[in-house]
Point group: C2
Chain length 443, copies 2
Amino acid sequence: MAADNSHAAGSRCNVIQVAQQARQSSQRLAASSGESRRAALLAVAAQLRRRCGEIVAANQQDCRRAEQQRLSTPLLKRLRLEPAGVEKLCQAIEELAHRPDPLNQKLESRQLDQHLILHRRTVPIGVIGFIFESRPDALIQIVSLALKSANCAILKGGSEAQATNSRLVQIIGEAAAQVKEIPAHWLALLPDRQAVQELLQLEDYIDLVIPRGSNQFVQHIMRHSNIPVLGHADGICHLYIDREVDSQMAQRLAIDGKCQYVAVCNALETILLHRTIAPKLLPQLVGALQERGVETRGCEQCRSLMPKLAAATEEDWRTEYLNTVVALRIVQNLEAAIAHINHYGSHHTDAIVSSNRERANFFMQRVDSASVIHNASTRFADGYRYGLGAEVGIATGKLHARGPVGLAGLLSYKWYLYGSGEVVADYVGQAARPFLHRDLKDE
Amino acid sequence: MAADNSHAAGSRCNVIQVAQQARQSSQRLAASSGESRRAALLAVAAQLRRRCGEIVAANQQDCRRAEQQRLSTPLLKRLRLEPAGVEKLCQAIEELAHRPDPLNQKLESRQLDQHLILHRRTVPIGVIGFIFESRPDALIQIVSLALKSANCAILKGGSEAQATNSRLVQIIGEAAAQVKEIPAHWLALLPDRQAVQELLQLEDYIDLVIPRGSNQFVQHIMRHSNIPVLGHADGICHLYIDREVDSQMAQRLAIDGKCQYVAVCNALETILLHRTIAPKLLPQLVGALQERGVETRGCEQCRSLMPKLAAATEEDWRTEYLNTVVALRIVQNLEAAIAHINHYGSHHTDAIVSSNRERANFFMQRVDSASVIHNASTRFADGYRYGLGAEVGIATGKLHARGPVGLAGLLSYKWYLYGSGEVVADYVGQAARPFLHRDLKDE
């Protein structure tokens, strides 16, 4: 049934209808048992495996078109889905299926009075709009997290992956629909950006939008949405090299942060160096980075040590390169490093390399970012590496979920109060009955 | 120092400066010890007690002006602050002061690899704009929750309470500033709605806005804010009376929900009755409500049983009365009650009265509201009654915090990763080092 949706969407999409149907489905999906959602995920994995040939064929179609349109090699690489990749995704879905049901978990329980019991329990958010880039594996991660957490998903993937994505949504929708408690219309694929624009206005039906993609695109969505948005626009990440430091480690973290994968949000933009170690460390560091093809730009103080270094401007401190460029700045002290990061950074991921644990803690407490790291690469800030299983994105806001967002970020909660006829009138005024307010441990 | 702010605000307020100063203070306040914030709260309580005379005098000034302006009696009652009231507030502040520090609590801990340890710890949200109605006790609740959770607070209270509020902010600011780690400018009071308009645009400095007040006012803020808003516009609450029911209990819950306090968000708007019990229960219920001065409006089916009943229109189902009016509707079954509530309600608080626990659970799971209640009054949905200590408001959205919002709703979290030089390059590719991903229990 969901597949019908995505097909209808292929011609001319009635976004309001898609959103209304998802809203209606969301109440049934929220009431589904963990067992049904587990069975649905297993059915999805089985069908993806069985129909792997169709998926790969659709993906080849996308890849051919992308080659004709001369997409860059890294983008082409991210677009391609081969049988081994499908198998790996199926295994990840199965692993997720067997995790405990995240719904109806008691977050707190309290006895308000003898027969008045309060529970706060996890529930799904409802209907989530996911807008992401070309990678078809992102679609599968997102959809399986949504299904596990009983959220309805309205998707818009990259247009380069359209054939792959629409085949995936069809197969997933058909597989899940075999399971009794899974409603039709819990999953839909939007055809184009115009449909996304319409979706962003439908706050009555959509609870949350999670966009992944270019800075400009995410900013555009944040500005134009009536619906809460979870995600990040910029990923301006810093490594601060402190005065007491293992130089080898500093260099290793700088190179991993900058070079291991440049096109991602948790890669390094700016390296800050404590003034006392800069004379020794800066030349080594610049040499090592340039050796790996990185363009280095330095502040005035850096250039007084290395006059041949290109000049970094104010603009550099604010730029997410997503490329083999790095900015270098010498700072007077730890406080100046923190001030630079809080001023120019994007509250995403920032690291300190220091042999002094106390100074590291000072840095980590004061840097106002979702992830703060001591003596490790910023590239670790990721849902898979953090052990969340998978992620739907990384959030730099402070509300709801922050940093890598996995299953837990797709949940809300609800207060359940069970009484036996209690009225508030008995608990107010002169002869007010007192509340018990006794916290209940797991019972 | 904060008091200076509020005074400057009295003449012509530089909202950007107030917001920037709060943002700067927020990093220092976030790094303050729990002990300092405890001491600051105790100092605040001591000063409020000592300067009670000034507060009551300022309040009398507000009350005289309100009487001249012919404010309604309930509003006047909510505005008035007497010595006994101040004492009660001081005791509540002291109780809050002695609660455990909510910051730096480990929410999860995971060993990613031998020497790579991840913690997720609570942190404050940062700078919060609180916009509320006249009640001076709301100011004290809000400010003390903000201080306990290390959030900077920019306030705008009702103009009727201006003298009281500005005296309270002055005393609280001066008292807290005596404590070493508490920064100046963590607290400010805005003078007027124009200043609020300006504040709503300052998303670089303000992390969250929590408005309390009339439906229209909150909706206006939600529409015009670039900053995330936590709260609710409507409180359209329902009581559904099921087919198997203790009639006395049903009547008691209806009367408490409607009459105990009409001007509040968790009071009843609509009572739904299962068709099989309506012939017997409706006349009793209408009689009991009318006896208490409640205007009753019924659906067509109600009027076929009681022809003299005034007619409820479609508009009634969507209206928050905040007054002694109630709408009554007969529904075919449990599902129809749920459908009515999810369609017309505001996802705030809805109750079922039923002798059948299974049917109650069906209702509670499917009604998409922040609080769902079985056999108790909707009026219990409140931070104090739920045992949260105090509340800054009630949220009907599903993100971040839902229902009554207490201390926990004023927290965010941050990921702390501690390594020993680990780089991501070692964990990818053919010879990838595997992650350990071992959850750590409290250590």
